[in-house]
């Protein structure tokens, strides 16, 4: 039986470890459990100063209170060695010199405290204004600290064009975000444990040099002030990694590396596993060969400027994303088809020849997303119209996302995916020729179709094409159909039309529901079936024409009861008429 207080009997270091995985709120609460816990709380070598928490409960957002709180916390723990020190605050001290001084003073105390108390982790996440201005002695103390293992700073003003030189011998990760006044960063060999480096929106940072040979991950995100197409956004940068063997992950956003940089550096990253080049506007040519980047498993490339040649032949690539608008003059991914598991290609203009060359032989592919593809038939038809088309076969494909015209689909001879489980299809120009989709997928369980119709399609044609289309998905467990039509809001009059059309598509549903707009509740109609009505002799009355060609008899033959809710009286009348006309035996209940 648990009658004893076992928690209090645990040794201090175990209690501290329990506290370590708890949020500040609970840790602080533990201080009043008993005298023993108060003393263990006082010796807890972690300080999490989360003023956002305070804001939620007390509503004070005064920089003076923040300052007072931080100073008293530091005072209380002034003698202990510190594992972790974090400050998270959103408190704004805007416009007053007094407040500016308080914020600066507070940060200075925290940083001094951290260096004096051998803090291992220092995270200052200050989202308020003004930025903290780092004065000279503090900068050099911090970036050469012998004890720091993790340093994360945000919203710091380095005051001028500061050149940061990092020499902390134990530091493992460095993360700077939204810092200003920072010109260059040099991570020296002295930082011999550094593994992860991340810079996000630091200005006017344009030069990074990493001499330490232990860095595994480098992220550099540059804020794009100018937007696309503005020539001012391009600027010279310098990114230097003299010993790049350890690098596993590289991400560059809006960093203007050049073709020369790419062709010189990337082949040297022999251990590179993931590469993300996002909107690096100067980059025109990319060549990744198997010789040097053997380990590359993930490559994401996006660009909004003209690229010339993109040739990817990494032999172990598993995940590839190419988001290109406009298109590169030439794109080839055929060199890595045998290992790809996930492929996403967006906004790309293709030809049938390209598809045949690059998308066949993807034996391991599990996820495929093809979006915004447009088909360039001008060159194709002339050259290729008479050639026999081969179906594209994807043996392992589980998840398929297509956003393209059916014209393109049929032009390549269709898809075959025996193990496909989930299918998402979006088509902006659905027309009579679009159905059925040339896709063979016998094991599909979930299908999601979003269609926008050709304006010229009349109601009966539309119905026929839809039935035609949906027939391919009869074996699915769930099928969602989103139909986008450029019509006025559907009025209640159209609900009968909607019900009728839906019943043509799904001949024996159990439940049918329509999403209500705004505050309107969802309309729900439930169907109950009994024995096939004996009154309906085959070949008699209207019923025979409804599903004569289908092996499964439709609802009209055996509907015994139908109920609905959330429908107004007028519409109820209309629906009732509709069901009475079509299913004579049904009992109609309205909830």
């Amino acid at each position: 039986m648990d009658v004893n207080d076992r928690l209090s009997e645990l040794p201090e270091e175990v209690i501290h470890q329990i506290m370590y995985s708890l949020p500040t709120l609970e840790v602080t609460r533990m201080s009043v459990l008993s005298k023993g816990f108060l003393s263990m709380w006082r010796s807890f070598p972690v300080m999490d100063l989360d003023t956002d928490l305070q804001l939620q409960t007390t509503g004070t957002s005064n920089p003076k209170d923040l300052f007072g709180f931080v100073v008293s916390c530091l005072e209380r723990r002034r003698t202990s060695v510190h594992q972790r020190l974090r400050l998270k605050s959103r408190i704004w001290a805007y416009g007053y010199d007094e407040d500016q001084r308080l914020v600066n003073d507070m940060f200075e105390r925290i940083i001094n405290f951290a260096t004096r108390n051998r803090t291992k982790e220092l995270h200052l996440h200050y989202k308020g204004k003004p930025l903290y201005c780092m004065s000279m002695p503090i900068k050099s103390l911090l970036f050469s600290s012998k004890y720091l293992r993790s340093l994360r700073l945000s919203n710091i003003d380095f005051d001028g064009h500061y050149n940061l030189i990092l020499t902390c011998p134990l530091i493992e990760d460095l993360k700077l975000s939204h810092c200003v006044g920072l010109q260059s960063i040099d991570i020296t060999c002295a930082a011999k444990r550094i593994r992860a480096v991340k810079f996000k929106y630091c200005e006017p940072l344009d030069s990074i040099r990493i001499s330490s040979n232990t860095v595994e991950s480098l992220c550099w995100d540059v804020y794009d002030f100018y937007g696309w197409g503005n020539p001012d956004r391009v600027r010279d940068i310098s990114l230097n990694l003299p010993s790049p063997e350890s690098l596993k992950h590289l991400r560059l956003l809006n960093v203007d590396i050049t073709d020369e940089w790419f062709s010189y550096h990337v082949p040297q990253f022999a251990g590179l596993e993931s590469l993300e080049l996002l909107n690096c506007g100067r980059l025109k040519n990319i060549l990744i060969t198997g010789e040097n980047n053997k380990r590359l498993r993930k490559f994401l490339l996006s660009s909004n400027t003209d690229m010339e040649n993109v040739h990817i032949a990494a032999p172990n690539l598993e995940h590839l994303l190419i988001d290109q608008n406009p298109n590169p003059a030439s794109l080839s991914i055929s060199g890595c088809t045998s290992t790809l598991r996930k492929l996403e290609i967006l906004l790309f203009r293709v030809t049938g020849v390209w598809i045949q060359e690059n998308l066949s032989g993807l034996r391991l592919l599990e996820h495929l997303l093809v979006g915004g593809f447009s088909f360039d038939c001008s060159t194709d038809f002339a050259l290729n119209n008479n050639k026999p088309k081969h179906k594209l076969c994807f043996d392992s494909l589980k998840d398929l996302n297509l956003n393209l015209t059916s014209e393109l689909l049929s032009s390549v001879g269709g898809f075959e995916a025996p193990n496909l489980d989930s299918f998402n299809y979006q088509c902006d120009e659905f027309n009579a020729a679009s159905a059925p989709l040339p896709i063979v997928c016998p094991n599909l369980t979930n299908a999601h179709l979003a269609l926008k119709f050709d304006q010229n399609l009349d109601a009966s044609m539309l119905r026929r094409s839809l039935v035609h289309l949906l027939r391919s998905f009869g074996h699915c467990k769930t099928l969602s159909l989103f139909v986008v039509r450029d019509v006025r809001l559907i009025s209640s009059k159209d609900v009968v039309w909607l019900v009728d059309n839906s019943l043509w598509l799904v001949p024996r549903p159990e439940t049918m529901s329509f999403k209500g707009t705004g505050n309107m509740p969802d309309v729900i109609i439930k169907f109950y079936y009994g024995k096939r009505s004996s009154e309906f002799k085959e070949g008699k009355d209207c019923v025979s024409c409804c599903c004569s060609s289908s092996p499964v008899k439709c609802w009209r033959h055996c509907l015994s009861e139908v109920t609905w809710e959330n429908i107004d009286d007028w519409l109820s009348m209309k629906l009732k008429n509709y069901f009475v006309q079509n299913a004579i035996n049904a009992v109609i209940t309205i909830i």
Partner: protein
């Protein structure tokens, strides 16, 4: 999962003797999941019997059960196995009563089984998370030994944590 018989290297067996005299025969690779035993094996080398006077047989057995599960993991570590182990860990701590939890934590801490200590402290943390002071006291049967007024004074200093 492949069985351990496929490995050709002969695994050394260690005898661990608990405070109540119960002994356990375990493979070295299993026992060295515990930092304290790893140190002893590395230092002394030849000694095959290790006495653990601070740990009761019942809890030593549980600790070794955990070690066994996680020692296998090192030899063929893949993602699937990781998942299995996580699930196993979850089951392992799911229904522990506080007495067992306490003794296991003490044993794991004494034997420097860092990963097991992590698992168990996380379990305790999960019993504290989201609770108010009174609820924590009730859960663990903690009696306040503050003088009248003392607790209020401490609460006042961090009133934001106590609503």
């Amino acid at each position: 999962m492949s069985s351990s018989s496929t490995t050709t290297t002969t695994t050394r067996l260690l005898m661990l003797k608990a405070s109540d005299g119960v002994t356990f025969e375990v493979e070295e690779a299993v026992a060295t999941k515990l930092g304290a035993i790893n140190n002893m094996v590395e230092e002394e080398g030849s000694e095959d019997l290790i006495c653990l006077p601070n740990v009761n047989g019942k809890f030593l057995g549980m600790v070794l059960e955990w070690c066994k599960k996680h020692a296998n993991n090192n030899t063929n570590s893949d993602k699937g196995n990781d998942e299995v182990n996580k699930w196993w860990d979850k089951e392992f701590v799911m229904d522990l009563d506080q007495n067992t939890l306490y003794h296991l934590l003490m044993a794991a801490d004494y034997l420097s089984g860092t990963e097991l200590v992590d698992l168990l402290t996380e379990k305790v943390a999960s019993m504290i998370r989201g609770k108010k002071v009174e609820e924590i006291r009730e859960t663990f049967k903690i009696k306040s030994d503050f003088l009248p007024g003392q607790e209020e004074e401490i609460r006042k200093k961090n009133s934001w944590a106590f609503e």
